[in-house]
């Protein structure tokens, strides 16, 4: 929607520290650069997870597939789930948290810029660590949910194929703990940023919906990640030190793992989807030229979803036989979540009602997010009913459900965000024609891949199977799904082409290419390091629209200023040093069973970590 094409922007104005070169990226504490690093890294991980999915789809294209071994297939779906959740969708959301939370609330950076850099480095190292398991030849293969006691080594150790327990699950257990450190540090940081760093007049109930949903996500992260961390530590003890937290022969209980995992795992679902809800709530108003319908209801429905989301975890466990009272409680709690979710859907439709809808790629993706999430939400209601779930759980019906929620919901929301915010982040508008090709390939491919999974699940195809025999009637829809998955992959290829083409093209993005409502559109594209030369004063939830109205039309392009008198935090490499320390600590724990002196490595790593934190703490921040 660019109405004017800007001339090539002059190079950024000089500042105290270097702005280019690899070292400037390694030492950066600028939330925008960290956001871009999050985005680039997680997009690569996302492509890796997609590749894993394609291999699985090739294996399942017909009955008795022989492309990969059964153990490889188990590793593929374990790593596909782990990658997409922890290394794909979560950090892609973190890219937008990083880049846009400070700008949207009118701040110059996050509350703890170096902690922010630390989060990124820990995330990167954690992602590389888990995936290094492929290189060593022992990828995790116990599912992304790692159910004990399958993952407790004493049982697994007895397989004929692997007489002693491999490091597969250890990579997963330790990798997730590394990623947990990154998520927790980032969550605290954004929480404090949103509470403390808002510009004058940016009251809580004036915050953009993306910031609001991000805020709920940070609370969920802070409350949910400690639970999985505890569970992972207990599992680590079971595996390495002979404890029996989840082993039925030593007085432990494998069902406890399921409870701990899903007390984390269900809020995790909202951690994945709420940022996409926020992005959608940003985009629909802008391209309908109308404010968000029912702002307050949108805020409180988001909070309500997050709150009740902590009380529904056992709906993942209806088949465990919890008894009729627990089943009833968790069924009703789960159904209740449908109400605020419905409010969101209706309010989105209400936002577009009476508007003037411009079909940009960002808008199409946001609309698709709504349309597809409805399907995922309704199939969710179907298996909130425990007896019905006794047929559906652990089948492809569930795979269909959560891909409608997480691909149809989260990925389409994030794609919408990418097209919407790309010009702000890089000063270049993504090509709209390629964008539409990307969108339609993704939209049709998505439905071809995931809709038939409903049929297959109801017709009796279980999840996590490396093969299926002839004669069960699974052939046709599996072939359709594999075809659809390649269409999806083609969509992402077009996206990559679009990115490369745009990157090579001129800087053509004005400050406000879409006539946006929020503060990020009031500053140049891309923003200068300090975001705002003067902190803005906010009077409503749509400050940029207020400014346009006050000006009676187009606003002039904001000018670049030198910003010499603006104090920004110094670059620092100590966050990276500390992050390497965190990585080393968990890396050393990989050797517990195989190297008697592993603890010496651990002590060394802890000292490294302390030294990094010590130097970080006493380094002048400004």
């Amino acid at each position: 929607m660019a109405t004017s094409v800007l001339e090539h922007r002059p190079p950024a104005l000089p500042h105290a520290h270097p702005k280019t070169g690899i070292w400037s990226w390694i030492t950066t504490v600028d939330h925008k650069r960290i956001g871009i690093m999050y985005g680039a890294t997680s997009f690569l991980f996302f492509l890796l997870g997609g590749l894993e999915a394609l291999i699985m789809r090739m294996q399942l294209i017909g009955p008795n597939g022989k492309l990969v071994d059964p153990d490889t297939f188990n590793a593929l779906f374990t790593m596909h789930g782990t990658t997409m959740i922890f290394l794909g969708v979560m950090p892609l959301s973190a890219m937008f948290f990083n880049y846009f939370i400070p700008i949207q609330i009118g701040a110059r950076d996050v509350a703890f810029p170096r902690l922010n850099a630390f989060s990124y480095w820990v995330f990167l190292l954690g992602g590389l660590f888990i995936n290094a398991s492929f290189i060593v030849g022992t990828p995790p293969d116990g599912g992304w949910f790692g159910y004990a006691n399958l993952t407790s080594s004493r049982v697994m150790s007895a397989t004929a194929a692997a007489p002693s327990p491999g490091l597969n699950i250890d990579f997963w257990v330790l990798g997730l703990q590394i990623l947990g450190v990154a998520s927790l540090a980032a969550a605290v940081n954004f929480f404090v940023t949103i509470v403390n760093m808002r510009a004058p007049g940016m009251r809580m109930l004036r915050m953009p919906m993306f910031v609001w949903m991000s805020f709920v996500v940070q609370v969920l992260l802070v409350l949910a990640f400690p639970v999985i961390t505890v569970a992972l530590i207990l599992l680590m003890f079971d595996r390495n030190f002979g404890s029996s937290f989840f082993m039925p022969d030593g007085g432990g209980d494998p069902v406890m793992w399921q409870h701990l995992f899903w007390i984390f795992g269900h809020p995790e679902v909202y951690i994945l989807i709420l940022p996409a809800f926020g992005i959608t709530s940003e985009i629909l108003p802008v391209f309908s030229r109308k404010p968000l319908f029912g702002y307050t209801a949108m805020v409180f429905s988001g909070i309500f979803i997050g709150f009740v989301g902590f009380g529904v975890w056992s709906h993942h466990m209806f088949a465990t036989g919890m008894g009729p009272f627990a089943d009833t409680f968790f069924a009703i709690a789960t159904m209740v979540i449908a109400i605020p979710t419905g409010v969101k859907i209706f309010n989105w439709v209400g936002t577009m009602w009476g508007g003037s809808i411009r079909y940009t790629t960002a808008m199409l993706s946001a609309i698709a997010m709504v349309a597809l999430f409805i399907i995922g939400g309704l199939s969710g209601v179907m298996h909130s009913s425990p007896p019905a779930d006794l047929q559906q759980t652990d089948t492809y019906f569930i795979v269909a459900h959560f891909h409608y929620v997480l691909f149809g919901g989260a990925i389409f929301g994030l794609t919408a965000g990418a097209y919407y915010w790309w010009p702000k982040m890089f000063g270049r508008l993504l090509n709209e024609s390629l964008g539409k090709v990307h969108f339609w390939l993704m939209f049709i491919g998505m439905n071809l891949t995931f809709f038939p999974m409903h049929f297959l699940g109801l017709h009796g195809m279980p999840r996590r199977v490396y093969t299926y025999p002839e004669g069960l009637g699974f052939e046709f829809w599996n072939r359709v799904e594999t075809f659809g998955s390649f269409m999806l992959a083609a969509g992402f290829l077009v996206f990559i082409v679009n990115i490369i083409k745009t990157w090579r093209g001129p800087r053509n993005a004005p400050a406000d290419p879409w006539h946006g409502a929020t503060l990020e559109w009031s500053i140049p594209s891309p923003p200068q390091e300090f975001n705002f030369p003067k902190l803005p004063v906010v009077h409503s939830s749509v400050p940029q629209w207020d400014a346009r109205r006050a000006a009676g039309g187009e606003l002039p392009e904001p000018e670049l200023v030198s910003g010499e008198d603006i104090h920004m935090p110094n670059p620092s490499y100590w966050p990276l040093v500390a992050a390497i320390g965190v990585f080393l600590v968990f890396f050393s724990l990989l050797f517990i069973r195989t190297w008697p002196s592993w603890w010496m490595f651990t002590i060394f790593s802890v000292l490294w970590l302390f030294y990094g934190v010590y130097r970080w703490a006493f380094e002048p921040a400004h």
Binding site: P70, D71, N74, Y147, N149, V155, T159, A160, A161, D249, G251, P254, V255, S288, R289, K290, L292, F293, G294, A319, T320, G321, P324, D327, A331, I332, I339, G342, V343, F346, V349, G350, M352, W353, G354, G355, S356, I357, R358, Y359, I374, L378, M382, S385, P386, P387, A388, L390, Q391, D394, T395, N447, H459, G460, M461, P462, R463, T467, Y468, G473
Partner: protein, 368 residues
């Protein structure tokens, strides 16, 4: 925004919608017999309860889906930007509307919740008076079925009489599995119970099959490398056929006389060269380490690693519903069990000779 791209887009949408309808129609026109493991064709009282609940929720979901998506599509068409559009009215919400669309879904959910809770209480309580009791024990990667009152132990194929209440008690010998017989019993997880487990979690399940037939099912909880091939069959027989089946299976069962067979049977076996040769191979090949077998010294063992092989010749499948039980498949299995089912716990102490394999195939198939 110009008109033409919009029109093209609408044509696209129409095509997409048409494609969707065709796909749905194709899916509906498909008949259930093409899907022998389907959940949509219930054949027992239990799965009929589940199915009728599912169908109620399904139609509510369809109604909501059609209405909401139709509203969405209407809005997208009706309020598309046209050249020269004035700024739309800047409405911020409408409390009445928002209350309405909070309350209506809540009411629909009540219509789903009430039958749900009723069905929960019907399906999750153990049956008071099962007419046939079967113990289901999950193993990596096969199923053991015991009939404690009838004195039968078998594997991978559960045989039950039609129109009789079957009560299952289920646990696992190693990791968590999930017993899933889609047309008869839906799904329940089975949890490991070891000899020293203090509080064993033994899940019940019940069903009354309403038609004779051969139903497939499989493990539904990830349980390791061969989760995909941990299949099972439930074979529903008429009363008379079931009684005959039980009577035959009691011969050499560990639950009857500790596996000892009547002297008459024993002398018949000993006179049969197929039997004597096969049994010799069975002992010499080390099969006894893991498998109980009628006529061998360990016929009465209940805790061996592998399935009880008495009456193996009457089983329709091999390797937990993985291969048809033919002489060729059985020979291939005995030659290379790891090649037939990678990662399986069956390891041969030493490779069997072709003569031994022939003897074993004949011997195992003779025991019907």
């Amino acid at each position: 925004m110009e008109r033409s791209p919009n029109r093209a887009k609408h044509a696209w949408m129409a095509k997409a919608a048409l494609l969707g309808l065709v796909v749905l129609a194709a899916a509906c026109a498909d008949s259930y017999p093409n899907y022998p493991q389907t959940t949509l064709d219930p054949r027992s009282d239990f799965t009929r309860l589940v199915d009728s609940l599912f169908r109620q929720t399904f139609w509510w979901a369809v109604i909501v889906f059609v209405l909401v998506e139709a509203a969405l599509i209407y809005v997208l068409w009706r309020f598309r930007a046209k050249p020269g559009d004035a700024e739309p009215e800047q409405s911020h919400g409408n409390t009445t509307l928002e209350i309405i669309w909070t309350v209506i879904p809540a009411i629909i959910l009540v219509f789903i919740a009430v039958p749900t809770v009723k069905t929960i209480f019907k399906t999750s309580l153990p049956t008071p008076n099962p007419e046939v009791e079967v113990e289901v024990i999950g193993h990596q990667w096969w199923w053991e079925f015991r009939y404690p009152k009838l004195g039968v132990v078998t594997a991978n194929e559960m045989v039950v009489p039609v129109s009789k209440m079957i009560g299952l008690k289920m646990w696992s010998a190693d990791v968590i599995h999930s017993f899933w017989s889609p047309q008869l019993a839906a799904k329940r997880d089975v949890f490991p119970v070891f000899p020293n487990t203090k509080y064993p979690k033994i899940n019940p399940l019940w069903f009354t099959a309403d038609s004779v037939g051969d139903y497939t099912g499989q493990c539904a909880e990830l349980c390791g490398i061969q989760h995909a091939t941990m299949g099972l069959r439930v074979i529903v027989k008429s009363d008379a056929d079931f009684d005959a089946w039980i009577a035959a299976r009691r011969v050499g069962s560990p639950l009857v006389e500790g596996g000892r067979v009547a002297p008459g049977v024993d002398s018949v076996w000993k006179a049969d060269t197929i039997h004597t040769k096969g049994q010799a191979a069975f002992v010499a090949g080390g099969c006894m380490t893991c498998h109980a077998m009628a006529g061998t010294p360990l016929a009465g063992a209940m805790t061996l690693r592998g399935p009880n092989l008495s009456h193996f010749g009457s089983r329709t499948t091999l390797g937990a519903n993985m291969y048809e039980n033919t002489p060729a498949n059985l020979a291939a299995w005995l030659r290379d069990p790891q090649g037939m089912k990678k990662g399986s716990h069956m390891i041969l102490p030493r490779p069997l000779t072709e003569t031994e394999i022939d003897a074993l195939v004949a011997y195992l198939r003779m025991h019907k």
